[in-house]
């Protein structure tokens, strides 16, 4: 339908822009916002895997990124419960 390079360069742009957004985006003082911003490079990386036909890697990455988000959210919630300043 489209040139496969469209998906590749869209993925590249999402990875770079998403990583900048995670480092110095608006509102990244709040760790929840920062965790949500990490999803942007994750989507970009999924598009890059898609252009290379890495099916199993893509499926495992989707599962792994979900687990990583859960671990990070658990860390945030537990640290807040302990009363640490974030």
């Amino acid at each position: 339908m489209f040139d496969p390079q469209i998906w590749f360069y869209t993925g590249c742009a999402l990875v770079v822009i998403g990583s900048i957004a995670t480092v110095t985006g608006p509102g990244v003082k709040d760790p929840i916002v920062r965790i949500l911003n990490t999803e942007i490079p994750a989507v970009g990386l999924s598009l890059i895997f898609l252009t290379y036909n890495h099916t199993i890697a893509l499926l495992t990455y989707i599962a792994a990124t979900t687990i990583i988000t859960l671990i990070l959210l658990r860390a945030v919630v537990r640290l807040e419960e302990m009363g640490a300043e974030l």
């Binding site: 770079v16 760790p31 890495h54 792994a64 671990i71 990070l72 640290l79």
Partner: protein, 222 residues
Amino acid sequence: MIVPTVVPEFTVSIFIPALYVGLITGFIGLLGISFQKNDLSALILTDIVGVAMLVIVAAVGTDLAEALILPGLVVELAEIMAISEILMSREMRKTGNNASIFPLPFAMDMEIFSTAPNFLALILIAYGVFLTGFTGGAVAGGGILFYVIARRSRGLPIKVWEGIAGISGVAWCIWLAGFLIFFIAPELWLLGLFMSSCGILIKVASKMGLIGIMAREDLKRE
């Protein structure tokens, strides 16, 4: 550049841009970590560095990249898990406050936990055993996890706990022996295949069951 002929032309043509994207992303991520004073933010930024690593590995293309990405993902997962545990235990020591191991935003007293566990766990375990291998272990382990979390009885004797850990270790050895058979006696490949697939099934399922027992001990405490 020396490229084998099995690599498609398309993969070779986008290798350089992918490499630069990976390097730039890694640079941004590491720069962010170095300017960060907050430990939790640095932990979240390691995720970005992991993405950069995966972009560079994916740029290799073909099945080699796929074989390298899976261990990379596992390493990234283990790394983030370990660093977050260290961060939390250090903070716990510093502030002196305790926090629940698996914080939940709601009370776990839904009706599904009293009516469904037997049936759902049976189906998941049967399907997991049918699948075998790592995927089957994850499915069967999910069934055990659900059953163990949902059941009301609590307080597992320490002997059972150690027994499950021992079974997991024995299964790991079966997995290794199965792999060894592939190399020392290739004509017995079917035996090796079944030994390794059933070994990893038992290993993964029992480990997930242990996680479920830990979660239940914590949930039923209050």
